[in-house]
């Protein structure tokens, strides 16, 4: 079964003078899934998200969100009408009270759902009369989520949603994301917290130095990816492991560490044929991510 694409980018690039924040980024995000957008600090995650929202103009390339062109001002407006965004710093107007900010935001959306607002207000226990600047960061995140969720958007984009949250609030947030996705909303969220992406994401996109370096279903990664450690019997030239399924090769003395996405049996057989001892171990997202970004470094 193929899902509808909710975000598509082709060759998306953002360059500031000599610095390439995002370089030739082509990605596709399917609807009704949770897609984790992983990368180190400064990898280009926020720049990509801001381009999708029309806050930053791409230097080159094209992108569509919900089928609308991000570079066309009228279509960008339609994107913002139909999606919700929760920014990294949860920057909400500190001079308004929680209630005022809800009323203010509500006025921009015809599809606002008062019953969802009521339910989330009860669930999050937000103090309506308190100024936004006086509430905790956890509360601010919940308020930002309420503003995003109270209108059943087709897509929610979150930039580092757990930034600054304590573990309990993070756990609540991830639960909310799963509930929202189960109700039919697509979620695209950036993070550098591997554990939380692993906990909720269906698909993982990894960006490094502005370029997409991995795009896989998490289940596929956990089921198929393996770490194969090959111990060569004698010191000498290391055989080439240019085999199908080999994603990364790291050679340390007589030891070769391979990251395989498939063809594990074939790789093991090849290692045995060169008289090497072989160990195969499952990997998690953290192993793969570190492997990728270390190689890039």
């Amino acid at each position: 079964m193929t899902s509808k694409l909710i975000i598509e980018t082709h060759g998306l690039t953002k360059q500031y003078d000599e610095f390439k924040a995002v370089l030739d980024l082509s990605l596709a995000v399917e609807s009704k899934r949770i897609t984790g957008f992983l990368g180190r600090n400064g990898a280009g995650k926020s720049t990509t998200i801001k381009m999708l929202l029309g806050m930053i103009r791409p230097t080159a390339g094209t992108a569509r969100v919900l089928g609308y062109d991000i570079t066309d001002p009228a279509q960008s407006l339609e994107i913002r009408r139909r999606i919700a965004y929760v920014g990294e710093d949860k920057g909400l107007y500190g001079y308004m009270t929680v209630g005022e900010l809800i009323r203010f935001t509500r006025s921009f959306y015809r599809d606002w759902q008062p019953e969802i607002e009521e339910r989330l207000l009860r669930q999050y226990q937000l103090p309506l009369g308190r100024k936004v600047k006086q509430i905790s960061k956890g509360m601010r995140t919940k308020l930002a989520l309420l503003l995003a969720l109270a209108r059943r958007p087709e897509l929610i984009i979150l930039d580092e949603p757990s930034e600054g949250l304590d573990p309990v609030s993070t756990d609540e947030l991830l639960q909310i994301l799963q509930d929202v996705c189960a109700a039919g909303t697509s979620i695209f969220f950036s993070s550098h917290q591997l554990s939380e992406v692993e906990q909720v994401a269906d698909r993982v996109l990894v960006i490094d130095r502005g370029q997409l370096v991995m795009n896989t279903l998490l289940s596929e990664l956990l089921n198929n990816y393996r770490r194969i450690t090959v111990e060569l019997a004698v010191q000498g030239p290391v055989p080439a492991f240019s085999l199908p399924g080999v994603e990364r090769v790291l050679v340390t003395g007589r030891q070769v560490s391979l990251l395989a996405s498939s063809n594990v049996d074939g790789i093991v057989n090849y290692a045995h044929s060169v008289n090497a001892a072989v160990q195969v171990a499952p990997v998690n997202l953290r192993d793969v991510f570190l492997d990728i970004v270390k190689e890039a470094s």
Binding site: K50, L53, G54, M55, I56, R57, P73, L77, E78, R80, R81, A84, Y85, G87, E88, D89, G91, L92, Y93, G94, Y95, M96, E100, R103, F104, T105, S107, F108, Y109, A144, D159
Partner: protein
């Protein structure tokens, strides 16, 4: 509700500005006897009001307040971390900027009107009269020239990041205007002298007449029109810059 946001962001500045202007005007009226009695030459009440309010102290305050009201906007919001939320709303940047400009221009006009409301009202309490019509003429000068000063600060707020640089650039811009107006080539066009215009210097009969009856000189409509157009141009330029800027 965009108007509500703009009002909430600026109302404290506006209220403080209004209070400061009212207090200064009230103080000028209350101290008229003492100041006039110590003047080197006999001074009519109208001349005293013009000197203290429309020519110097209160005018200087009004110019500073117009600059303060022009500060803010999306660059300031970016520094405060709220630009992301604002720009994620389904509102065009043009609308964001023009609503803020309209709110600020309205506030400048309201501030310009305050002396005209207060001075004619308080003057009888000190046994003097100051014509409302005359005060309204000065308010018109303040409102239009104030628009230009506001627009200058508004423009620099869209161009320069930081809390202070737009204010410093606006003051520098006004000083430059003042210096340029002193050049011989420019002096022959008094309409180009913003400070002379805002002071009502063209209404020069006021200086020689002890009464206000001859204060019927025509307002410098051409200069006011030029200033209003330049102000609109500056707001338009601020809009254009904001639309293409990355946040």
């Amino acid at each position: 509700m965009l108007w509500y946001k703009m009002w909430r962001e600026s109302w404290i500045r506006f209220a403080v500005s209004a209070a400061a202007l009212l207090w200064m005007c009230g103080a000028v009226v209350a101290m008229q006897q003492r100041v006039r009695s110590h003047a080197d030459e006999p001074m009519s009440y109208a001349n005293y009001i013009w000197s203290a309010v429309y020519k110097a102290n209160v005018l200087d305050l009004f110019i500073l307040l117009a600059i303060v009201l022009g500060l803010g906007g999306l660059l300031q919001e970016r520094a405060q971390g709220t630009a992301g939320f604002t720009l994620s709303l389904p509102v065009s940047r043009w609308r964001l900027v023009t609503v803020r400009a309209a709110m600020g221009l309205g506030q400048v006009a309201a501030l310009a009107l305050l002396p005209a409301l207060l001075i004619p009202l308080l003057s009888p309490l000190v046994g003097e009269v100051f014509s409302l019509a005359l005060a309204l003429q000065f308010s018109l000068l303040w409102a239009t020239c104030g628009m230009l000063i506001f627009a200058l600060a508004f423009f620099f707020s869209a161009v320069l990041p930081g809390a202070y640089s737009p204010a410093i650039a606006s003051i520098a811009g006004l000083l430059l205007c003042s210096a340029l107006a002193g050049l011989p080539q420019v002096k022959q066009y008094p309409a180009l002298d913003l400070f002379q215009t805002i002071r009502g210097a063209q209404l020069s009969l006021l200086h020689s007449e002890p009464s206000l009856h001859t204060f019927a000189a025509p307002l410098p409509w051409l200069a006011l029109g030029v200033y209003a157009l330049v102000a609109i141009g500056l707001v338009f330029a601020a809009c254009s810059i904001t639309v293409t800027r990355d946040f």
